[in-house]
Point group: C2
Chain length 367, copies 2
């Protein structure tokens, strides 16, 4: 038995190595200038990271995919910690249901939570444009502080820089975060295997659309608010109910479609999703149809994707639905051995099509 | 004996409390808009932090003065860690002796080192302007990677955002960092006391002037290069030679004068500096005279100020001079009980004057 398990693990690892090598080899950066799509979280972002960042900073902790780096402190037996960083350049600064401040706190908490860490503390780095109204700064700082207090994760260090008028767009925020890893977890893309179940924690597409509607003078009247929320307590509930959870990811830039594609590629598996099971609000679906955008390509800031074993799937969904941040949770698909590296969407009328990751950027600067 | 020591400590703590309360009470923010001087590291920056940030994020770890927050992981006996963040908006991106990439790595390493931590890992968050030349990004990433490798502190996580053309100035970098605290250290402004000795690790003013000369089309021809360097190994040498070191600070924005004023104010002590003992390169002094700037108000990126006990002062200076990053180290002054919160500069001809912290910002965006 043991040897069969080991051999199956070796096969799995070989496949992942093969997929990674192929991915890095493909990452040829042909652009001579940075474009907005390099910040989309989609294909261009992946090419940029794989071609420029991963080779430059090559080390064990940085794999270009994890939401946080996981490191040991000093020596065997010490607690491991998670470390993550995110910059926020959303425009406008304020939008229905949230603003750049609460977004920056929740987003970084979520990156820590997805890696299985309990968030411990955050930093806030501000880049301010000369001429920014002090009242705007006051509101953003109040929002940062309120979100930090609501989540129970303190801001412990900070930095402020000012650039000349016209050299930034009012206000950018970097939040980095440190968390302590739970013992005994093995959340990793390597643990994803055929037969696993794909769960999403609620309606997708709200955040990106809320920001876009706040920004553009569109003739769409819809009450769409950001879903920005801290997910660390929802993660705690999932891990308690489904201790063998394979992987948690928050589908932010590039949306659910990009996140599922990333998982399929990095794990060297196929993912089959039933389109009608993916929860999307009626208003969001309507607005997306008018704009010609797929809600599965739109960023979320308060949702997660959980890949769990078939045995633990119902326990996980029940626990998620019992939590305020996961009431809309649904099983939307399953992991298969093939087609390797691809996501297949099964339509309600019995057809199926490939669901690709985001290409280009229909919604720049939504986080 | 014990009671006298305790009573003296209590007096010291009472004075620090009084100074802090007075400082926060003074911090009334009258500006209605952000100005460049809010990013100078001088008086306006302090007012902004004291009036807006410290009250909003009030917690034990954040005191608005330390270079890093120091926190315990989880529970008694766990190692304590240090956490810091810094954004870099220097213009131009490349200047004699360095660039924004090496600056961002060294600066954050130094913030960790000043808190007495051994730097463990760094994050890099990039904000890119649409249209940035890919070759510029390549050079900056190569510089980040080279500085990280040279210092032995890996970049383990990152983030990339892109904003529209005209909404940033080519490239901004945030580097955050985590370090593990050494046991048994008590580096803190509270431990500074009259009789202590003030040491600086070398020539001051190089960095800010190098950037300014690279930026402005000035009629000054001088070979002035940034001093940007990682100081964590110099700190290790100091702490080995002078284990009772009171405080380490890197005099970056606002320069040596601002750093000494911060120490005097936060510790509730006076600091007397002998002007002729402060090391300044001849070219730097000459350029400063032409520009009407005091080299003590100019940012350094590879220097530190050490406050050590009189007993350990010579051991500290000897150890510093024996290290490549500290060959120009010099004792420049001493801590006195008064004038409380002030820095007095003793001139070569026997006079003395108050050395204030930076007011306004003669050199914006030098880091």
């Amino acid at each position: 038995m043991t040897s069969r398990v080991e051999s199956s693990l070796q096969t799995q690892l070989d496949r992942i190595d093969r997929v990674r090598t192929a991915r890095l080899a493909r990452a040829i950066l042909r652009d001579e200038h940075i474009t907005l799509s390099h910040g989309s979280g989609g294909k261009s972002t992946h090419t940029l990271i794989d071609a420029l960042m991963v080779p430059a900073f090559a080390n064990a902790a940085l794999d270009g995919f994890a939401d946080s780096a996981v490191l040991s402190t000093n020596g065997v037996g010490s607690p491991r910690f998670a470390f993550t960083t995110d910059s926020y350049v959303v425009s406008p600064l304020f939008f229905p249901g949230g603003d750049i401040g609460s977004l920056a706190i929740n987003g970084t908490i979520n990156d820590l939570a997805m890696s299985g860490a309990r968030p411990v503390c955050l930093s806030v780095g501000l880049i301010l444009e000369e001429g920014l109204e002090m009242d705007v700064l006051r509101r953003v700082i109040a929002s940062l502080a309120a979100a930090s207090a609501a989540a129970g994760v303190p801001v412990v260090t900070g930095d402020t820089k000012v650039v000349h008028r016209g050299k930034a767009d009012r206000l950018f925020i970097n939040t980095s975060g440190v968390g302590i890893m739970r013992d005994g977890l093995n959340l990793s893309v390597e643990s994803v295997r055929p037969g696993d179940v794909v769960i999403v924690s609620g309606d997708v597409g709200d955040h990106g659309l809320a920001v876009m509607l706040a920004r553009e003078a569109l003739e769409i009247e819809a009450d769409i608010r950001t879903d920005s929320a801290p997910l660390h307590e929802l993660v705690a509930a999932i891990l308690a109910a489904a201790p063998n959870t394979r992987l948690l990811k928050d589908p932010t830039r590039g949306g659910l479609a990009t996140t599922l594609n990333e998982i399929a590629r990095h794990a060297g598996v196929g993912i089959a999703v039933e389109e009608e099971k993916v929860p999307v609000k009626r208003e969001v679906r309507g607005a997306c149809e008018m704009l010609g955008i797929d809600p599965m390509h739109i960023a979320n800031e308060g949702k997660l994707v959980a890949i769990v074993s078939a045995e633990e799937a119902h326990a996980a969904v029940d626990a998620m639905r019992a939590h305020p941040a996961g009431v809309g949770s649904a099983i939307i698909g399953e992991v298969r051995s093939e087609p390797e590296g691809m996501v297949i969407l099964k339509t309600p009328i019995g057809g199926s099509r490939v669901l690709d990751m985001l290409v280009g950027d229909p919604l720049p600067r939504i986080c």
